[in-house]
Amino acid sequence: MHQFTLSRPADISAAIAAHAQDAHAAFIAGGTDLIGLMKDRATLPERLLDLNRLPDMSYIDAPAGGGLNIGALARMSDVAAHFEVRSRFPVIAESLLFAASGQLRNMATIGGNIMQRTRCAYFRDEDDLPCNKRRPGSGCSARFGLNRNHAIFGWSDDCVATHPSDLAVALTALDAHVLVRGPGGQRSIPFAEFHRLPGDTPERDIVLDRGDLIIAIEVPARAEGRASHYFKLRDRQSYEFALVSAAAAITADGGLIGSARIAMGGVAHKPWRLTAAEAALRGVSLDDTDALKAAITASFTEARPLEHNVFKVELAQRVALRALETAGARL
């Protein structure tokens, strides 16, 4: 086992300071992903900064005007069970409940959830296989290897991995913000900009810099929130990452879509927003399946499947349609 130390910063400032000055430090909260990564030697921090005792970071606030503010240390199970989360944003509650297992959700935090690293089997192999995300410059085994579970959008020759978080897909659809504090102060990052595409630096999943700590997730009031749904398609019924998933949230007037928000999981290095489809869906009748399908297709002209995931292009569109229709049934 790789040797490491564990310390407990007294407060947020101390945590940030300790992380900022130490290239081999990592924050740990629920640890449900980090411990696995360390066991597989996919990441080898020398010092762990335990955040679990930081005060006032596990709140779930539901302001009177709508939206949600969720502390980074709130546990997945607590957020999923929260009445206001479930009524204001079913898509968030569902994305949490369909993830992991009961035991893992009791440990895992919201901040840690969106920091999860890819489930690409090459990245996680305990034998350190060629993987640019794990060892930059070593090559991408999945590019011409087994890539059924990999990306159809936004990949590069250096990395074809997908992002595993379900919650991140829901938050992308809702244009949430990630409240981050670092050595230079606090900033709010639009969710769509939080995760990166791989390009030629796939070792970087997110835009955070050393010393940056996620403080909270802020979900603005969204008219679409109530009629929302997270649909997760997977190879078995439970305890499995998405093959393809979709978060959909809509408003409608007289059966015609007013506004639609759709993001997808399992298709790219980051949650993938169907921007073109959202525009095309405006004014489409929820009863007109063909028109809904045609609008969704607008976002798939740029799809670039790999050798083993060609089927995902069509499947993803059907998943998006299912999420949209189920959200529509909640109007």
Binding site: M1, D128, G145, L233, R322
Partner: protein, 717 residues
């Protein structure tokens, strides 16, 4: 006292549920040190250099073993044989060759497991790598005829070719199954302890303590009497712990050199290459039949991969030899392809589960081709005579399984057209299949001791895999002795006990169980003899007397009975287990997801000794089969030549949410040809034909015939 036939709960249930049961890696061993295996990162080539200097200097490290310093081992006899207890003939850490991915190349021994694992990362190896050979449709073209190691490689009764050619209806298809791993919850582990006299005790995760002793004796060159192998609880075996794998030999050898107890436990990922697996198969089936579905001819050809050094055959084309009548002829054959992988091994249910998928899918295709109900086709081809040997079956309740299973399932309500049954947005499909499983006959010994306090002790060198061995041994002894089951204690899993056979192939109950019955009979007869010849037993002339009273009056402390079950080779009858399975699935036609709605299994496993443990075996076997059908596959990277999804996150076994209520019927009868206790094998049988029943249901639901397992989403889009 009829303990047999009662649904008695597990003798060891409380120990297991409270965590008190000690598994191999849990055993406290004095002064034990920990070994961690380092593996090759290439699949084909050789080691040019290996630098262990840094690892040797790492904290806590006692030694690093490689091919340069691990003592030479004695080769095991060639040709390698399946009944031989060696998992594979290629011995670990003996030379610089790399013949498969993740092959063991070093063992680091340190004070703690973490220290050893860390030091292992400091070993620097330079490899010279060549492209590995991997199995697939292309490689199958290079298949060769292997030597026999179990059944004959090829079989031919009648003239199958002619019978098929002359048939008005022909089915000709190719089916394939995926590589699978056992994925027992308990990882393989071994602790080797040498004493001052040069005797070795191996605490081992094994389904075969005596085989382990025999093999280790041979390879390390020490007499069997100097070796003792212990395994009292096993956290799942499924065939993967029935043979000796490299880590056991490395640990025993290293412990000898260091003169310290060495414990080695494989990581989950290491289990994919350092123990066996069920190899993938490509199977061609040809059926010839008349327009009613009566089979004239069957031809079944299977191709499977083996390692570069062994001729392992997965006998996928075995089942048509004895399952259905085909009046004109039945021909089967097996070929293998040598590729860069470790040697495959039996996995529940070896041979039959792969072959039955192909045969029973083809039979379903035949039923649709002629428009006859799949149950009717099987009833039409049912037979009381084993087509292979020409002998009558000892018992065969296939007809009963088909008829009563169908009735329980409600098969008569099924509409035969594909895509004709719906539930809302879902397509509903109902499918069925028949199954056969080999009956194994192996010698076994046991000892039963009756004690003065009226209790009895059963001792036999058998194994508890999670199947209920402790419980059924208790039951058989209780029944034979006329004692309440609570009065019987059981000791198994130790080579100091009477010799028994490997707990594989569903053989334990019929064979080891028979030895327990014989031992109990022997001691009961001795007690009766004592009552007849000894001092006056019952002054009040009561014809009934308890053992404790008998022993007290005769001043006897205990009586010992020996059971030596030595089954003759099959006689005038052919013995197999049978089943008929019925599955209902729902398929989301837009998304390609298959979910099992309900399942009925009707089994002929002879006499049922314990309906509770039998039902548990059956539902476990069905779930095992659901994984085979829908989710499980060990995927090989074509360039790296290695299994990639080497953990529970990548290798998907069914979860509880995937499994509905399972309905199980036992329809067999006492089979005295199979065993003196009347039982035939069950555990393996229960996972045979689950996959074709589900695949046939998927066809009925969707009209899509999936001939390649597992049936994943993309195959139904």
């Amino acid at each position: 006292m009829n303990a047999i036939g009662q649904p008695i709960s597990r003798l060891e249930g409380r120990l297991k549920t409270t965590g008190a049961a000690r598994y191999t890696a849990d055993l406290p061993i004095a002064d034990v040190v920990h070994g961690v295996i380092v593996q090759s990162t290439i699949a084909n080539g050789r080691m040019v250099s290996i630098d262990t200097g840094q690892a040797e200097k790492a904290p806590g490290v006692l030694a690093v073993f490689t091919h340069r310093n691990l003592p030479r081992m004695n080769p095991t006899p060639k040709p390698w044989s399946h009944l031989h207890p060696h998992g594979q003939s290629y011995l670990p850490l003996q030379d610089d060759r790399i013949l498969y991915a993740d092959q063991p190349v070093a063992l680091v021994v340190a004070g703690t497991r973490d220290q050893a694992a860390y030091a292992g990362t400091l070993i620097g190896i330079k490899f010279e790598s060549s492209p590995p050979a991997v199995f697939g449709r292309q490689a199958a073209k290079e298949a060769v005829e292997p030597p026999q190691f179990l059944w004959p490689v090829a079989s031919s009764v009648g003239n199958a070719e002619q019978a098929i050619a002359d048939s008005p209806v022909k089915i000709e298809q190719t089916y394939s199954t995926a590589d699978r791993h056992h994925n027992q919850m308990e990882p393989h582990a071994t602790t080797a302890v040498w004493d001052a006299d040069g005797a070795l005790t191996l605490y081992e995760t094994t389904q075969h303590i005596f085989g382990t002793r025999e093999l280790v004796s041979m390879v390390l060159g020490i007499p069997q009497e100097k070796i003792n192998v212990v395994c009292q609880f096993l956290g799942g075996g499924f065939g993967g712990k029935a043979y000796v794998w490299p880590h056991t030999l490395i640990a025993a050898s290293a412990a000898k050199v260091l003169n310290r107890a060495v414990h080695v436990q494989l990581t989950r990922a290491q289990m994919y290459s350092m123990t066996g697996h069920q190899c993938a198969s490509i199977q061609a089936i040809r059926l010839g039949a008349d327009r009613n579905g009566k089979l004239n001819g069957i031809r079944h050809d299977s191709i499977t991969p083996s390692s570069m050094f062994d001729n392992y055959i997965e006998y996928a084309a075995l089942c048509p030899r004895s399952l259905w009548a085909a009046t004109g002829g039945i021909a089967t054959n097996h070929k293998i392809v040598h590729v860069n992988r470790n040697t495959p091994t039996p996995l529940r249910a070896p041979h039959e589960a792969l072959g039955n998928f192909a045969l029973e899918s083809a039979l379903d295709e035949l039923a649709y081709a002629i428009g006859v109900d799949p149950v009717t086709v099987r009833l039409l081809n049912d037979t009381e005579i084993d087509p292979e040997s020409g002998r009558p079956f000892s018992t065969r309740a296939m007809r009963k399984c088909l008829i009563e299973g169908a009735a329980r399932f409600g098969w008569e309500k099924r509409t035969p057209e594909p895509r004709s049954m719906r539930d809302g947005r879902y397509l509903i499909g109902q499918g069925m299949a028949g199954a056969i499983y080999t009956h194994w006959r192996w010698p076994a010994q046991a000892r039963v001791t009756l004690r003065r306090d009226g209790s009895a002790l059963v001792e036999a060198g058998s194994h508890e895999l999670g199947t209920g061995t402790y419980t059924v041994f208790r039951q058989i002894a209780a029944d034979t002795l006329g004692l309440p089951p609570e009065k019987i204690s059981v000791r198994i899993g130790d080579t100091r006990l009477p010799r028994s056979h490997a707990s594989i192939g569903s053989a334990t109950l019929a064979n080891a169980g028979a030895s327990v019955m014989l031992a109990a009979k022997d001691v009961r007869d001795k007690a009766i003899a004592l009552a007849a010849s000894g001092k006056l037993v019952a002054p009040h002339r009561n014809p009934e007397v308890s053992y404790d009273e008998l022993f007290a009056r005769n001043d006897v402390d205990s009586l010992v009975g020996e059971g030596n079950y030595d089954p003759s080779p099959e006689g005038s009858k052919a013995t197999f287990s049978f089943s008929a399975l019925f599955a209902e699935v729902r398929v989301d036609p837009d998304l390609g997801t298959v979910r099992l709605n309900r399942f009925v299994g009707a089994y002929d496993c002879g006499r049922v000794i314990n309906p509770k443990t039998a039902r548990s075996q059956a539902i476990g076997g069905i779930i095992w089969g659901v994984g085979h059908a829908l989710t499980e596959q060990s995927e090989t990277d074509p360039t790296l030549g290695r299994f990639v999804n080497r953990n529970y996150s990548g290798y998907l076994v069914p979860t509880c949410a995937d499994i509905p209520d399972l309905d199980v019927l036992f329809l067999g009868e006492f089979d005295g040809e199979a065993s003196p206790i009347g039982a035939k094998g069950l555990g393996e049988l229960t996972s045979v034909a689950v996959a074709p029943a589900i695949a046939n249901a998927v066809y009925h639901a969707t009209g899509k015939r999936v001939r390649d397992l597992p049936i994943t989403i993309e195959k139904l889009l």
